[in-house]
Symmetry: C4
Subunit: 318 residues, 4 copies
């Protein structure tokens, strides 16, 4: 055996585990959820090691993010208002005419809000060393913390999301003189995706075993220059495909999972975006073909998104 061959034996791999790290499973499960998140949890890792504040803030839902800013603004002003009360309201000019403690606290609260936003009307203003120190500190903290809040706000707003929509079902349909595993993707939004690359992997449980094999499926075409329209991704089920001679029952029994990854460059955001999804056997239609959804208007080509999942009967090649 030549030296080159010797190495290849151990490095050239048919089975690609995608980094999922999972080769042994009992029962039916889904590695990758439809929304692209993983069914994986890390345990025995400390909070500080695990948490990434930027990730948390960039991926939380909008209402929680905005609510958090509002709550933080409220809480910080409560804290500073309390400090001003402790120092004594007589150190804030323009406040003395008002009576009770609650009213004074509210005045201190609003003075704090005017300070932290660097609004500074000046009707109420700090007098004396302590009040001035607190106010000067608060205004600087305000600039820093609003910079973080507004930075995150814009960061969330300008963060690209791969706006790829997958057909709800995949199909096994006739393809040339054989059959193919197919699904469709479309970019529903107006921004252009460029250099779109798709990879499809198949995870199968071995017969009478709990081990799993991972296969990388060869595609008719794995990259397109742009995606203004709909793209039917096709894996031709040739002699060498792991799907060769497979039936719907086989896939069910082997608890198959088709894992799809799409990588593209989003032109509006000038960034690379990723999208993931997966198909389980129940989401595959056998002997169906996707309907043509392109129509021609006067001077435009029209893509009917509603028909993304439309299929029609198509007898399979045997």
């Amino acid at each position: 055996m030549s030296p080159k061959k010797a190495t290849e034996k151990y490095t050239e791999k048919k089975y690609n585990d995608l980094g999922l790290g999972v080769k042994e499973t009992s029962g039916v499960y889904r590695t990758l959820n439809k929304d692209g998140t993983f069914n994986v949890r890390k345990i025995n890792v400390s909070f500080l090691e695990r948490v990434n504040f930027f990730h948390t803030l960039v991926s939380m839902p909008w209402p929680r993010f905005l609510g958090g800013i509002l709550l933080g603004y409220f809480a910080v002003n409560i804290v500073f208002a309390s400090i001003y009360m402790l120092i004594g309201v007589e150190n804030l000019t323009g406040m003395k005419q008002i009576g009770g403690t609650f009213e004074q606290f509210m005045e201190a609260f609003f003075f704090s809000a005017q300070t932290i936003t660097t609004l500074g009307y000046g009707r109420v203003a700090p007098l004396g060393l302590m009040a001035n120190i607190v106010a000067a500190t608060e205004s600087m903290l305000g600039l820093l913390s609003f910079a973080l809040a507004t930075g995150m706000l814009y960061g969330r707003f300008s963060k690209p999301k791969a706006t790829v929509k997958y057909s709800a079902h995949a199909v096994i349909a006739p393809y040339q003189d054989i059959n193919g595993f197919m699904f469709r993707v479309v970019n529903v939004q107006e921004n252009q995706l460029l250099e779109v690359e798709v990879t499809v992997s198949l995870s199968l449980r071995r017969e009478q075993s709990e081990l799993r094999d991972f296969f990388s499926l060869e595609l008719e075409r794995s990259k397109v220059v742009f995606l203004p329209s709909v793209w039917t991704v096709v894996h031709p089920i040739s002699d060498t495909s792991p799907l060769h001679a497979c039936t719907a029952e086989d896939l069910e029994e082997k608890d198959a999972e088709f894992i799809v990854t799409i990588k593209a460059f989003d032109e509006s955001f000038s960034q690379t975006v990723y999208s993931r999804s997966s198909y389980k056997p129940a989401e595959i239609k056998w002997g169906q073909k996707f309907a043509y959804l392109v129509t021609y208007e006067k001077d435009k080509i029209a893509i009917d998104i509603e028909r993304l999942d439309e299929t029609y009967d198509a007898p399979l090649n045997s």
Copy 2:
């Protein structure tokens, strides 16, 4: 047939549809407009799914963007002025001396403007709980919304645009001992484009059919390290070219479209940029060659942009 060959049969493709998803057309049409936008429209997709606010804001014309900010500023101040009027102007100190409702509304309007920009002169200032709550809220909203507006402003300003200028016409010109399809590109701006890659695809309608074939054209050179000057992109029409033995009439009849994509790294913006254009048969000159547009000054090489489209007669090889 070896297993490897079996797969290749279905995956190695001559016809590359570029992700345009359009294989069937009637009549003459243009897929890609001269400005790089696509003649594609998505229908039956909900507004919320389709729209991407960042994309919309980053790609709208400057006058509309700036006008929108101005209008939004005006509208928000109208809303807050109305709220202050509802609460009662007696809650704004420094306002009482002025007479009519309109004057009061204007004062409330300008107080609102001073609050939302965190200007806060303080001549007019909120007094009492309600007015203070509204003002504190407004100043925080002002910080957030101005952060979005100014973030978009700078985002638009710092967004790279591939400043590649294409020759208005392509030519079919003699090339070595055969002919070539050629067009020229130049970076008109001062910023450097690096690692410039070009791809050219040809879309042809089949004879007496409505189906379209897509061909990826091989280029003399498809990548250059930098582009300080002009680049004549050449597809040599060899025996294997889909243009081999084609006449101008053939291209017209087959409703040909040459789709050009350029990818580069913009050094000033530190980002990857894309540019697209297309040539239809009417934009191709046969038997013409591009004129040399480089001249030598004392210590600089001069590129005459005005002569980008200049050609001269050059009899084709047969």
Copy 3:
């Protein structure tokens, strides 16, 4: 010899020095520290050439960064307070009622703080040409310098860090019918790493020499599509491996160093991240295999991070 071969002789290299530039060493040393920094120092380079303020500010620890901002804020206000004192406090309205020089300086200090943050209460305000010029300059400088400070603050916050955790030890374990050099990596944080690539290089000192050879180790798999779980990186010790027939004593004697580089795309930060580490002979366990750390919960796959370094005895193939 064919012309092609002639060139290959000098360009196809077995020994890859990784750009470390170090081929000659005496004694035991570590090129790459465990935390990914290099044991390299540049001498005889001027401060201005060497220092990069952005790099310094982005890589310093948080306490020093925030302390620096606080200190700068304090120092700048001292400077401007002194200037206002020089001009004369009579040029600041609203200040006159207070007595001693210290009190006046403090008033000037806080007026400066209110000016540089654009807070501007207005209780104290500049009067006359000089005070106004200084205040107008200070407020503009405040906007610029706070923009830098808050930009850095957000830049640090939004800068991705490859959150890859390496097993503390590497192992030499049985692998198929031979042995392998293995270590494990896991992403402890919640953000996803995509297209994860690993390279492993081995640095060995030649016998009875001070020269070093660098070998690039072939891996069972050098790239995974995503890394939601743990990844055991394996270098199969085949006939062609530089580790072939090596013993623990050999590695010790040759002062071996395994240099690991990981490159990935961080989905939350939308950026490429790098991580580096190295293993010295003392950090390699012979005849040990990594324990399986994946367990199955009801509907999630659980990765036990605490067991990352857990190994068990596994007799090596001979």
Copy 4:
């Protein structure tokens, strides 16, 4: 001839013109300056087409940039002060006590500065419709324009520069059993450069002609994983090198230019950076070898930058 060969004949190129677009020159000239800029000028292109404001602002020297901001701030306040004067100073409260027109203009000027920075002391404040409209507009314009200015400020500050330092001279030195063209590069700054790629091209004027040929030089190694130290880039002058059997006089006569491009990923800036330089015949030392500049300190490897250009005599192989 097979179809594949037919195409290759026209696409596989020995001569790579790098996109310089210059194949014909008279006399001695330099395409690429030592600092990485090109000796190319575009003529007959309109100002609006050519200029890119972002590029201009990001690449101008710091003093001009900061001076421009200062000047702009001054000019805008002059303009707004004039507007306030036109409206009439009686519309600005708190101003009336001062006498002459110049004093009034200065007050208006400083009021404008307090408005555009959103400082808003409030000692002077707008009264009446017109003054208020102008002030509200000015404060909003202030927010927008300071956002652009500070965005550019931070953009400049956070823009990576490839901090690669080239040896002032290249050398022709013995290399294995032949000779090699060599130069050295070092990253003088503290930030790490990763995945460093170098390409070297040679431009030669044909004998008794004004045409130029461009050769891509094969390198001993064209990519390193990191560059913590110094890297000697080597082009082995094998039989197939365009430098084979070349003398110093030949290079002079052919007006040779060695064009170097370096691409790397800057870890601190998380961005790809490029660096360019070139060597002309006068900058090449024949029969010299670079001196070793690495020394060993207690626990660090020390790189002596001052010795980057140090060479010693080394008789060439023949």
